[in-house]
């Protein structure tokens, strides 16, 4: 199996901004899709350990010409190298790490994110139910959940909604949402716009919302 994806300009903006949120020494789980490409954008000075649900801590770079039969794959099925100090284990220990709260950061994609931090990313009933995989557990138990998403979906609707219409992966779990236009952080229980990409304005970024999005009094400078 594989979840390869061509990177767009928007993707790159999101990934560069997300890389700024990563801290030295963290244990990080990357969801399928966009998050998988984050490591490319991390500076060489950052030393973190990537966790994969299928049973590795210390996932490294993708293997050139790696096949899905390669003995180390990430949770998306991509052949990967291991870094020095990596450990391999079984699914049971892998989720002991997850449910034991050992993940400092998990970076996920989303179908929908609600203003209160609710996350929906595992089923669109009647249409597509890929399954929750390890998503419920990482979303519920990681110390910090960051969602990477385009500001608008394919139909031009904002990914950040007042309320999720789809079944939840986990309630109130999203701490940070990064789109190509803005960064939202959960403050007082609500995702609050705290930073704008230089190419957009507050009016443009908030115009797709049919509800009032909280905006920080003083915006952070966009980092990338």
């Amino acid at each position: 199996m594989s979840f390869h994806r061509q990177m767009t300009g928007k993707d790159e903006i999101i990934l560069r901004r997300a890389a700024q949120e990563v801290q030295q020494g963290q244990t990080i789980n990357l969801g399928i899709g966009l998050p998988t490409m984050l490591p490319i954008f991390l500076p060489a000075t950052i030393d973190v350990m990537f966790h994969a649900e299928n049973g590795c801590l210390g996932m490294g770079k993708p293997v050139d010409n790696g096949t899905p039969d390669y003995p180390v794959i990430d949770a998306g099925g991509r052949a990967c190298h291991l870094v020095s100090g990596a450990a391999c284990f079984d699914s049971v220990l892998s989720f002991t790490i997850v449910r034991g709260g050992r993940l400092d950061l998990v970076i996920l994609g989303a179908f929908e994110v609600a203003i209160n931090g609710d996350l929906a990313n595992w089923t669109i009933p009647g249409k597509s139910t890929p399954g929750m995989g390890g998503g419920m557990e990482v979303a519920q138990k990681a110390k910090r959940v960051m969602v990477l998403s385009h500001h608008l979906d394919k139909n031009g609707r904002a990914k950040l909604a007042e309320k999720c219409s789809l079944p939840l992966t986990a309630p109130g779990c999203v701490d940070t949402l990064i789109t190509e236009q803005a960064v939202f952080r959960r403050q007082n229980g609500r995702l609050t716009l705290v930073s704008l990409h230089p190419d957009t304005t507050l009016e443009i970024a908030t115009s797709p919302f049919d509800f009032k999005v909280p905006v920080a009094q003083k915006l952070e400078t966009w980092r990338a």
Partner: protein, 230 residues
């Protein structure tokens, strides 16, 4: 002690029947017992009505994807089916039952079955549709789902190195669900990528002791690899 090495037909005939529950190792391709599955898929009339436990649904013409396509499976317990659109269509058409469980809870339920633990409490998915209809319990004022153990008649798993006593070792991320499944079934058939002499695996580094294993079979060259090479 007589060694446990058998050929695939012997092992399957000895331990697998239509209508049985069967755990199948693997996450993606690692740990999947492709040779045993291909044997079952090549004999669809002899092995049907199976209840399967498998992390994911593989791809349509690969691994348990073949069993699903042949309609040899009546119920699939899994965590992720995103990669098998043919199966999703079958499921949406009501032709097969499918139970989706969060991956770590799926692993933990299997492990519990192996460890003689009939049920455990968990808060995973408690405030989602996953929790609907599930038994709940309150402990110290917190609400939990009562998760029941999984146990099956037979497990088929693939390991990288296996000795004649059935001691198993896995490379990289190939271990995944295989160890837990290997403890949770009445019989376990291990497909070995490499069979090594007893004593070659260092005792401390054995991932699944042979006591759990009924038979060891040799992995055959993989059909999809042969086709890809052709």
């Amino acid at each position: 002690m007589p060694h446990k090495i058998k050929n695939i037909a012997e092992a399957v005939t000895a331990y697998i029947r239509s209508g049985q529950s069967m755990m199948v190792g693997g996450f993606g391709r690692g740990g999947v017992p492709f040779s045993i599955i291909d044997y079952l898929a090549d004999h669809p009339e002899q092995y049907k009505g199976l209840i399967l436990y498998k992390n994911d649904a593989n791809e349509p013409d690969l691994g348990i994807g073949r069993l699903l396509k042949n309609r040899q499976v009546k119920h699939l317990y899994t965590t992720h089916i995103g990669l098998n659109p043919a199966f999703i269509a079958q499921m949406n058409a009501g032709e097969i039952a499918c139970t989706l469980t969060p991956q770590g809870i799926f692993a933990e339920k299997i492990r519990a079955g192996g460890a003689g633990i009939p049920a455990f409490l968990s808060d995973i998915g408690l405030h989602t549709s996953y929790a609907k209809g599930k038994e709940k319990m309150t402990l110290d004022g917190q609400n939990y789902i009562l998760e029941r153990a999984y146990h099956a008649d037979v497990a088929i798993i693939c390991a990288d190195m296996v000795d004649q006593k059935g001691n198993c070792w896995w490379q990289g991320s190939n271990r995944n669900m295989c160890v837990a499944m290997g403890t949770a079934c009445d019989h376990v058939i291990v497909e070995a990528k490499e069979i090594v002499d007893t004593g070659r695996l260092q005792p401390e580094n054995i991932h699944l002791p042979g006591v759990f294993v009924s038979a060891v079979v040799r992995a055959e060259p993989r059909r999809h690899q042969q086709e890809a090479a052709a």
